[in-house]
Each structure stands twice: as structure tokens, then as C-alpha cells.
Symmetry: C2
Subunit: 208 residues, 2 copies
């Protein structure tokens, strides 16, 4: 692509580095900013650069935070005895958006994946064990994607937890047929699992 | 959407103001920047804010430029007697990318559209007439989208030009069936126009 201006070319190249944004979309975004008042671009770049430079990670759960603790960990109204273990920030946001979960989180920062060179020591598993050692945690919910890596991670953490605390309750989010899915199109593994972990009718109705 | 951090929320809201970017994509972009080294975000915001603050418009053709004149107008190898009139910057870039056009441009900044409150006085038509008055321009190519507003603009400019210069050659880019289109799916107006403005076989072959 030829650009009439080096400044535009630089901005387009930077936009095009973002995921899912190609050269054409990048050009569209750059020209959009050019067509708007200069203040809008100023606000945009300030917000983005402040986010990157001022962001902190919660000392307790490794979620993103504005201060030492994130909004969830510093909220006394939440149930600090239930810890939901997730892979990354996106999962925290996804679960928070359901507005159904009242416990706290623990962000691992990934899953065990030998093929990508990620072992347990790269993940924030030690601080989770430390938290459990203090004795206030009653339940650990594993909310990790049902992939081979995810299942390995769940297995590893569960074993570690049970090593020094037999009484802790470890659960996993339910795997099954998603709402709105047609039974005939659901894959065999999911369908088999959803039959194996069937629920009593009453608990299904209340959970819903 | 709930955000664990005000900083991220601000950045997401700013990203979501860009055209074609919704809240989910904006979050993905913000989290991507968070996952990359801080320098990348720095480069990104610097390039975008420099583009907006340092960009100039070419004194001659109103294209974007890094200095007084754009790269096209300041290029002595280009044919300054042929002026291609376009609606906006995107059209300049599109035509430049064909690498077939060796003349210069004139960016109108829009088309006449009474419904949007855009009259001829809002467009850069006066400076085009001024350029033609100087007598160096031999041909004006109208490269404007074939909409009602575009056709009105072409008609208005052509009449103005002919008022004081009868000898100037005014042309329009060809309207017709696009390469790769199947005849049976082409709309009637385009097909009718492509038959009315048919070309001798030899000129078709050389033009191609």
C-alpha cells in the first residue's frame, strides 16, 4: 500500500499490529481519527498509554487492579472463602458479567502446556497454595477451559491442594450441553459427559 | 460490561469509539496491549498522536501531507497538467495503489449533498477553479462515486469549469461491468450504461 504521508503510514502500521486488524481496517481507523477533532485522538492515546503504564496487578488474585488490591478482592461484601481459579483476565470479566458469582478469583496466567514450554512453575500456583494454607478458603472452583491443557492443570492443582489439605472442597464448573444448543448437533464427548453428570430434576430447575 | 479496573474501562471505551469496533473487540485490543511489552504501547500511542498533531494538508491538492506540499504534488516526474478530482483521501490512496495514474489530484473533501447540509461552498471547488484559471491544467478527470450526490457534484463542477474555459477537457472514470463480475448478476443501470459507452475492440484491448 502506498501512503501519501509517513505519519499516516506509521500510525497505520501500528494499528495493524493489533490482533484482528489488517492494513485496510488500520487505514480506516487512522483516517477516522484524522477526521475527528484533535482532542478525541488526545483522549484516546492518553487513555491507552495510562492504562499500560499505570496498571497494577492485584497482590491477592493477580487480576488487573488500579491499586494494591483489585475491586473484587477489596470488596468486603464478597465471599472470600470461595475462590474461582481461572486462566486469564478475560475469564474473570466473562464470569463477572454473568453477575451470578459472589466469591473471589485467582488468575493463573495460563494453563500447563508443555508444548508451549509452560510448566506449573510459570503459573501462579504457589500463591494459590499459600492462600489455601492460611485456612480461610473453603471451596476452590476450577473454571478452566475443557481442553487437554486445562484438564491437566485442574488435575495438577487438585493433587497439590489435597496433599496438605484433605478437607478443602474442590469443584469444577459443569460441562454439558449449552443453552440454545440442539441435542443432535452436540459433539459426542460433551453429550456423553452431560449424561454422566446428570442432575436431579429439582436442582436443575433451581439452578436455572 | 463490568471491568475490574477503571484504567482498562477507559481504554476500552476509547477503543470502542472507533468505527467498526465494539466493546468485545475493544476489550480484546486493550488486553492485547497489556500482554505486550510497555514499549509497544508507547510506540502505538506516539505514532497515533503524532499523526493527529503533525499532519498537514497539501496547499495545492488538499491531500494529507508531511510538509507544505504532499508527495504527489512535490513530485516533478508526475504530470501536473492532468488533475484527478476525488472525494476524499481514501480515494487518493485507492487510485495510487493501482500504480497506473501519473497525474496529480484534487481532494474535494466530500460531495454536494443537500440532505447532509453540504453545499458547493463547503467543498474545495474554488481552489480547483483557481488552479484551472492559471492555465496549466489540460484535463480534469472526475473520479467520483456514481451516486446521485456524486453525479450532482460532477455536473456542478463541469458547468463551473466550462463557464470560463471552454477548451479544457473534462472526463469521468468509466462506469461499467467490473472485472470478474458475471453479466447476469450486474444491475440493469450499470449494464445499460456499459452498452451505451461501449468501446472499439482495439481500444479495449490496449486499455486492458
Amino acid at each position: 500500500m502506498n501512503f501519501p504521508s509517513k505519519l499516516v503510514e506509521d500510525a497505520v502500521n501500528e494499528f495493524a499490529k493489533l490482533p484482528g486488524i489488517g492494513k485496510k481496517t488500520a487505514l480506516r481507523l487512522a483516517l477516522y481519527l484524522l477526521s475527528q477533532p484533535a482532542d478525541n485522538t488526545q483522549n484516546f492515546t492518553t487513555a491507552v498509554s495510562r492504562m499500560r503504564s499505570d496498571i497494577r496487578f492485584c497482590d491477592n488474585c493477580h487480576n488487573i487492579a488500579d491499586g494494591d488490591l483489585c475491586g473484587i478482592c477489596s470488596n468486603a461484601l464478597r465471599d472470600h472463602s470461595t475462590v474461582c481459579v481461572v486462566e486469564n483476565l478475560r475469564d474473570v470479566i466473562a464470569i463477572e458479567n454473568t453477575e451470578q458469582y459472589r466469591g473471589v478469583f485467582h488468575v493463573l496466567g495460563g494453563v500447563i502446556s508443555p508444548i508451549d514450554g509452560i510448566g506449573p512453575e510459570q503459573l501462579r500456583i504457589d500463591s494459590l497454595l499459600e492462600k489455601v494454607k492460611q485456612g480461610t478458603v473453603k471451596e476452590i472452583i476450577m473454571a478452566i477451559s475443557p481442553t487437554m491443557e486445562g484438564d491437566t492443570t485442574i488435575f495438577y492443582i487438585s493433587r497439590k491442594l489435597q496433599e496438605f489439605n484433605q478437607s478443602i472442597k474442590i469443584t469444577s464448573i459443569a460441562r454439558g450441553v449449552a443453552f440454545g444448543n440442539e441435542l443432535e448437533y452436540v459433539d459426542e464427548l460433551t453429550l456423553a459427559r452431560s449424561i454422566a453428570s446428570r442432575l436431579p430434576y429439582e436442582s436443575y430447575m433451581t439452578a436455572k
